[in-house]
């Protein structure tokens, strides 16, 4: 396909998808920092992605914003752009671009299992499928998130006097874990680190049920005994967490699959809750799109490219800059 290149630049409309550097026209899949950057002229995205960008970077983080509804096509010249839910976080979109009878779908980040804090993923048939591969190795077979939440609840009931301090990324993971806890019937107030506040408020305003949240203040460490406290992973190892009383360190992430990795980051209770597709989701989604060309980005490209070739598809890795796994959710 001549009209889209490896930097995800769409020539006929002079626009980039999730560009790393400021550009004139950007189409943004979702609000995570490795996809949404400030400083573009015109931004096209879902309403919620635009809201999130404004919360994180300010009202003027782009010269102009244009929001799109899921499933409603937008025609510019001969190009048709449509957003479909990616199931990754609130407002996250796959971008479908049709031009001269061909369709390209760029997933951004995605997962296909149900999540009540994000719109459900949809399969879009296409000719070229640009997929992420954060967990693109067959060792990643994520267990059911309910299973992980049960492990957390079990640990809380076994050690009712200790604080469970959970490392979560501030956008998406925090709200998903809270809503999973609520669905499992956990109805105590949940304490959140200041860095999570604005985005939790935003999710609540979008009618995601997060229940009663309280700000986690160090002076309240007595009241937080026995409670669930959420903080960004960086705060797990800094002074802030050391001032809590003997917390059990937990972290919710797909990386927690690997025990040595959990151990190295000092996590005692790993919760394998991922907002990215695991190996089985990646491969079955690729099959379902019926695309014959696959571009793989964002993670362990080699294994997924190899799998595609084994299964008779054309595949290439896109080594996009700035998609750093440590920034990843």
């Amino acid at each position: 396909m001549q009209w889209i290149n490896h930097e995800l630049y769409i020539a006929p409309i002079d626009a980039y998808i999730d560009p790393i550097k400021p550009v004139d026209k950007a189409i943004i899949t979702h609000g995570h920092a490795d996809h949404a950057r400030p400083g573009h002229q015109k931004v096209l995205a879902s309403r919620q992605t635009i809201d999130i960008m404004k919360i994180r970077y300010g009202e003027k983080s782009a010269t102009s914003f244009q929001s799109m509804e899921f499933g409603k096509p937008l025609r510019i010249n001969d190009v048709t752009i449509t957003l479909y839910p990616a199931g990754h976080i609130l407002g996250s979109a796959q971008i479908s671009i049709e031009y001269r009878g061909q369709r390209v779908v760029v997933t951004g980040d995605y997962k296909t299992i149900p999540d009540s804090s994000a719109q459900a993923f949809e399969i879009i048939k296409c000719d070229l499928f640009v997929t992420e591969a954060t967990f693109g190795l067959p060792i990643f077979q994520h267990p059911s998130p309910h299973n992980e939440i049960n492990n957390l609840l079990k640990s809380i009931s076994e050690q009712p006097k200790r604080t469970h301090l959970i490392g979560v990324y501030s956008l998406g993971k925090a709200q998903r874990v809270i809503s999973l806890l609520r669905e499992a019937g956990y109805d105590h107030p949940i304490f959140i680190h200041g860095a999570l506040e604005k985005l939790c408020d935003y999710y609540s305003s979008e009618r995601i049920n997060l229940g009663l949240l309280r700000k986690a203040l160090v002076q309240d460490k007595e009241t937080m005994k026995g409670a669930v406290v959420m903080a960004p992973p960086s705060a797990l190892r800094d002074r802030w967490s050391r001032r809590l009383m003997d917390p059990i360190i937990c972290q919710a992430s797909g990386w927690m699959t690997i025990k040595q990795r959990a151990k190295r980051s000092g996590v005692e209770l790993p919760l394998i809750i991922s907002d990215h597709a695991d190996w089985n989701e990646l491969t079955s989604t690729i099959d379902s799109t019926e695309a014959d060309t696959i571009w793989v980005t964002h993670g362990r490209e080699d294994a997924l490219v190899h799998w595609c070739k084994l299964n008779g598809k054309n595949a290439e890795p896109l080594r996009l800059q700035g998609r750093d796994e440590e920034l990843e959710i």
Binding site: L137, P138, Q260, E268
Partner: protein, 523 residues
């Protein structure tokens, strides 16, 4: 296996000592015999490996997944047990109950070799990933979950209320599944009886000396000093019914040293340094290495490198446990015993004459090169023989290290906590225009430096040979080492004792690293 896998997962993730002790106590409390005894044996490394080879697991994985996908995964995870347990298709069928530890061992034992892979796959099919991981770790041996045998025994003491010291005293006389031990711990019987001159006894170890702190507060008159020999620490355990030599970790090395074992007379447990050389004149360590590399020696080895023990302590005098007597008395008993009982391969360690720490400092450097020792040992004359590494009574004061600049040539993955990092490095020095390896180092750097080294290795790989990567010959590292010796086994002709990384010279060009000539000049 279910409960054991939960135990292992908790042990590997918990960082606090107390948490580890409490999960272990719980496990011992609620797990029946003989399961808990086998688990204890696996955790402390006393249970012999059930005999499943890692290659069997690789083969099983290869039947289920494309080889390239497996290799990429293994490269990413770094640990075979973890890779196989994660990559194994999660059937979630769990039709059959998992075996208990005891059933697991006996089924593997009773199954003919040709049917082992079917048995193991069936176990793995009926387990979740944590259970698969625990079973593979257990079946291949070497759990590496960050638990010392000492901590396991501490948990036994906490669980039972028995004294840790008492557990240590009988420990090496007992074997898995430790039925007698648990009967005693549960208060059903008295402490198990051990034949002391038939078993290994844990050794007492010294701490490195801190010159400023220790010398200011210690009186030289309270201490005895000896040379620190560069051999291997051994324990000779012998009576009329048997004679054994054990390494520091309790491995029986008798077969490798028939020249010593055959000459042991009397009844005692002795602690000393095993060395090679004629007439008790110790040769450098790499000559001893020739003997250590073989399970049993050839005639030439026996002739060229005759072994002897330089004895420095005594644990049992006949049947008498002398470990609780002060060193001063033990030494007298040892001298007395050595005079009475003829042993042609035993030599008593010399006591150094000094009246001040500064005099000892002179002695330490004076004869280091002519005698070939590696420093001095300083021991409190009142000290009991206490197993482990108690703080205070014994010190080792090594000679000052030497340094060289080497170039990294190869890197290999580490183990356990470091298994996803390239943490074991081979370094070389120049011989003309050619780099020749002089030694391996895997310590001396911080965690942050390890991350940087690992990144450097991955970004500068030239070739891969299984777990080993050959790297660009560009990174210079300053190595510290105790001494250098001629060696026919190394291409460079040089072997380093205790090489470790002193600092990484990111700035230094490889061309400026050391040469074989400069090292030969300090040998």
């Amino acid at each position: 296996m279910k409960r054991f896998s939960q135990l292992l997962v908790t042990l590997i993730l918990k960082t606090s000592r107390n948490d580890k002790i409490s999960v272990l106590s719980e496990y011992f409390k609620y797990t029946p015999d003989p399961d808990r005894g086998y688990a204890l044996g696996a955790l402390t490394g006393t249970l012999s490996n059930p005999g499943i080879k890692p290659s069997l697991l690789r083969t099983l994985a290869a039947e289920r997944i494309d080889q390239e996908l497996f290799n990429l995964s293994y490269d990413y995870v770094g640990d075979l047990a973890e890779t196989v347990s994660l990559i194994w298709p999660d059937t979630a069928a769990y039709k059959e109950k998992l075996p208990s530890i005891t059933e697991f061992i006996s089924k593997i034992d009773r199954t003919p070799k040709a049917k082992l892979s079917a048995l193991i796959s069936n176990f793995l099919d009926n387990a979740n990933s944590n259970e698969r991981w625990a079973m593979i770790k257990f079946a291949t041996g070497g759990l590496r979950v960050g638990l010392s045998a000492r901590l396991a025994k501490t948990a036994l003491a906490a669980y039972s209320g028995c004294l840790l010291e008492d557990i240590e005293k009988v420990w090496h006389g007992l074997t898995p599944p430790y039925i007698g031990l648990f009967e005693w711990l549960d208060g059903k019987t008295s402490i198990p009886k051990i034949q002391h001159t038939r078993t290994f006894h844990p050794m007492m170890l010294a701490n490195p000396l801190n010159i400023e702190q220790d010398f200011n507060r210690l009186d030289p008159n309270d201490f005895q000093a000896e040379w620190k020999w560069d051999g291997i620490r051994v324990q000779a355990v012998f009576d009329e019914s048997g004679k054994q030599l054990y390494s520091r970790t309790g491995d029986d090395i008798s077969r490798a040293f028939p020249d010593i074992v055959g000459e042991l007379n009397g009844k005692a447990v002795l602690d000393g340094e095993l060395l090679v050389g004629d007439n008790f004149k110790a040769l450098p360590f790499n000559q001893l290495q020739q003997r250590l590399n073989r399970k049993s020696p050839t005639k030439t080895h026996l002739k060229d490198y005759p072994a002897f023990i330089r004895v420095y302590d005594m644990l049992f005098y006949n049947d008498d446990d002398v470990r609780d007597l002060p060193l001063k008395i033990r030494r007298q008993k040892l001298e007395d015993w050595m005079k009475r009982v003829k042993n042609s391969r035993l030599d008593i360690s010399e006591i150094l004459d000094f009246d001040s720490w500064s005099r000892l400092a002179e002695l330490r450097t004076e004869k280091a090169d002519t005698l070939g020792h590696e420093g001095v040992m300083i021991k409190d004359l009142q000290s009991k023989y206490s197993p482990g590494r108690p703080k205070g009574p014994w010190f080792k004061w090594k000679r000052d290290p030497k340094f060289l600049d080497g170039v990294m040539m190869y890197a290999q993955r580490g183990h356990g906590r470091r298994s996803s990092f390239y943490s074991d490095y081979t370094f070389g020095i120049w011989r003309g225009n050619e780099l020749v390896p002089v030694g391996k180092a895997y310590s001396g750097f911080t965690d942050e430096e390890l991350v940087m080294l690992d990144k450097w290795v991955r970004g500068n790989t030239l070739n891969r040979f299984g777990p080993v990567r050959e790297v660009r010959k560009e990174l210079v590292v300053e190595l510290a080492f105790d001494s250098a010796h001629a060696s026919s086994r190394h291409k460079s002709g040089i072997a380093l004792r205790f090489p470790r990384i002193n600092r990484i010279r990111w700035d230094k060009p490889a061309q400026e690293a050391d040469t074989t000539e400069t090292i030969t000049s300090i040998m």
